[in-house]
């Protein structure tokens, strides 16, 4: 059982090191600034942002869409890969579930930040009307959050019970793990329920995940606005979310591997596989982008033409092309080479993809609103443009660091790699070997 002890030793959560502490402090400081900025917004109103009657949604909403997109990763890696029997992804399941939970929590928070009267949030439950896409979003996001939490929690049960034993000499911590393990003993009956519920959740989460992206896309597509009024929007958002989520996983897994010395568990092989997957996802997303922009550009109705001109050659053009080239095309090309799929390059590409995905949402949300059907008239000059204010940026960056903080803190107490499953796989391997030897 030497292997067993080593695995537990390697994978059990550890205290933050020096850099870990710095990192957490930094995130907390940013969050504190953001809270101060939000306090300003609460007392003065949304006037502290640059949103106005024409650019009525801004970086908050695009940030919300980004978080929703990132959250898809949970179902991608955990559910889809699990159901398709891709065992190589086991070490990545927990990472992606944690990212998904953090992202979905922050998505909910961001939408509240955007509201003019956040204290009336409860109206959504008292007076909610089913024909509004916002209500669909509320329903599907809460459902998704619950399934994601369960999908994070259930596979943790055996690990909690392992950790309970491992931290024997720290009674308090051990006690917590004990409580969380829900009396897991690993007997046949428990294992049966355990496997069944994880399987059920994996199946359930896929339609819900598709639902949240589709509904979020519909928040835009159900309006008449050029640039949003598109029947392509649902699948376009889903495709984009896969890209953003996969980018987030490769970035986070690189950092965790470094921080927790998991080189034996998250290997080059995983980066190689994820790199290949990312290529496929980027290509699918590119295809949807072509649909989204080329068809209206071919027809150039008056409103669409205004909008597209702004994106292709106008004010937003630099951003638009940088996002397409560095967020999609360059990653595809780089990842096609074997050298490009080594951990460090994959990490860098992952960052490109995530940053690109963030700006991509910004480009979907903000330019459209400045091209309404009637002319923009009778309002001050500043209202004709939109770029977030300092306070708006502070709040937005605060939500991003909030998500990172959730991820960091969860991994302070949860094993990054599922211990139980790693051991199981190892045992299975040994058995196979033994069987071969017998023959």
């Amino acid at each position: 059982m030497k292997d067993y002890d080593k695995i537990v030793q390697d994978l059990a959560p550890k205290k933050f090191g020096f850099w870990g502490k710095i990192w957490v402090t930094l995130l907390c400081v940013i969050a504190a600034f953001a809270m101060y900025a939000y306090y300003q917004q609460l007392s003065q109103g949304l006037v502290i942002t640059h949103m106005r009657d024409y650019s009525l949604w801004g970086v908050y909403i695009s940030n919300f869409v980004f978080f929703v997109a990132i959250s898809l990763v949970g179902s991608l890696v955990t559910a889809i890969l699990r159901l398709s029997g891709a065992n190589w992804a086991t070490p990545l399941t927990r990472i992606s579930e944690v990212i998904a939970v953090a992202a979905i929590v922050m998505a909910g928070l961001t939408i509240i930040i955007d509201m003019g009267r956040p204290e009336r949030f409860y109206n959504l439950f008292i007076h909610g009307r089913l024909q509004s896409p916002i209500i669909w979003d509320v329903l599907v996001i809460t459902t998704y959050l619950f399934i994601s939490l369960l999908l994070l929690f259930f596979p943790l049960l055996p690990d909690f019970s392992i950790l309970k034993k491992y931290f024997k000499d720290k009674p308090k911590l051990s006690n917590w793990y004990n409580r969380l393990s829900l009396k897991w003993k690993g007997d046949d009956r428990q294992v049966k329920i355990y496997n069944k519920s994880i399987y059920t959740l994996s199946v359930l989460i896929i339609p819900v995940a598709f639902g949240i992206h589709t509904v979020t896309a519909w928040l835009f597509a159900t309006t008449y606005r050029p640039g949003w009024d598109s029947s392509n929007f649902g699948p376009y958002f889903i495709a984009g979310a896969f890209v953003a989520g996969a980018g987030a996983v490769v970035s986070v897994m690189f950092v965790l591997r470094k921080a927790y010395h998991l080189e034996d568990y998250i290997t080059d092989f995983h980066f190689d596989k994820m790199g290949k997957l990312l290529v496929l996802l980027c290509l699918v997303y590119l295809y949807f982008n072509v649909n989204e922009y080329l068809v209206p550009a071919y027809k150039t109705t008056e409103e669409e033409a205004d909008h597209l001109k702004e994106l292709f050659v106008g004010d937003y053009a630099p951003m638009f092309w940088i996002v397409i080239v560095f967020g999609l095309i360059v990653p595809v090309i780089a990842l096609l080479f074997k050298k490009g799929r080594k951990p460090l390059p994959v990490f860098i590409i992952g960052l490109f993809v995530v940053v690109g995905a963030w700006w991509k949402r910004y480009l979907i949300v903000t330019p459209t609103l400045l091209h309404p059907f009637l002319p923009v008239e009778g309002v001050p000059k500043e209202w004709h443009h939109y770029f977030p204010t300092g306070l708006e940026w502070t709040i937005t960056i605060g939500t991003l660091s909030g998500a990172l903080l959730i991820i960091t803190l969860l991994f302070r107490y949860l094993p990054v790699i599922p211990i139980h499953e790693t051991i199981e796989e190892l045992e299975a391997k040994h058995q196979l070997k033994a069987q071969k030897n017998e023959k």
């Binding site: 109103g45 949304l46 106005r52 949604w57 003019g116 109206n123 909610g128 001050p380």
Partner: protein, 316 residues
Amino acid sequence: MKDSNNQEQRREFIRKGFKFGLVATAGGVLLTKYLSTSASASESEEMVELMTTEGDLVKVPKSELQEHHNASAYNPREGFADKKFVMVVDLAKCKNARKCQEACNKGHYITGENAWLKIYKMQESKETSPYWMPTQCQHCDKPPCVKVCPVDATFKRRDGIVLIDNERCIGCRFCMAACPYSVRVFNWEEPKQEEQASAEPYTPDFCGKPSVKGTVDKCDFCPHQTIKGEMPFCVKACPNDVFAFGDMYEDAVTNGSGTTFKLSELLKERGAHRLMESLGTEPSVYYLPPVDRTDDFEVGLENYTPYESVKKDTEL
């Protein structure tokens, strides 16, 4: 003065209009009864003019009319059960005088930067002539804003008016994104309204009284005026009779100087249209095309302020 005179006439019309509406719904009974006995009506009796659904004017003795007060039944969320408010905007007469906008801003205590009623400088293409186009909430029969509101804060009344309950609005601004006419405005900060705005208890049928930070405002079609027997602020204020307002069931609209038109005829004769008909929103505001104009387009340029729609009082 001309003004007060007009006001009198207008009041008279509205009162008649309302009464007629009542007659019509109380059942044709009342009218038929009268029509059959009209021959015997005595000469000395005071007569009142009414318009029938066919658009003919008939004289009815005052004693035959029953005033029926359903004010107690009026509920700001439901509106009048027997009305369907419409507006006609005559683009041929608009010369950007902006009196409508001023009156609306003042009447609704608007203090932000964005008026609810805008007068756009329009030109379809280089070759066609420019014109001035006032727009406010179109009070659509299929309102996209109402459809998307998650909490039923913006709603459609039985008389066609679309209103906002700013005590319920959560400020998500989805309705603003959904509105293709860009008529909705948001209270980005605490509105600096005069005290009068919050003097009375709030009801959603008087938008802007008071405005609330973090909620949406827009043109309310002035039910607070019609209920008093007065015309909406913009209609009353326009010196050029651009606006006409009335009840579709009565098939009558009346302009600022008190002239009443048969709605269906007016729309047909003048080739009316509604804005962005192709979107299927079915607005309650009709536009008469800018042909045979009373004045040159250029006259309006004098008042043209592309970056301002709410005048700020410099001296307070």
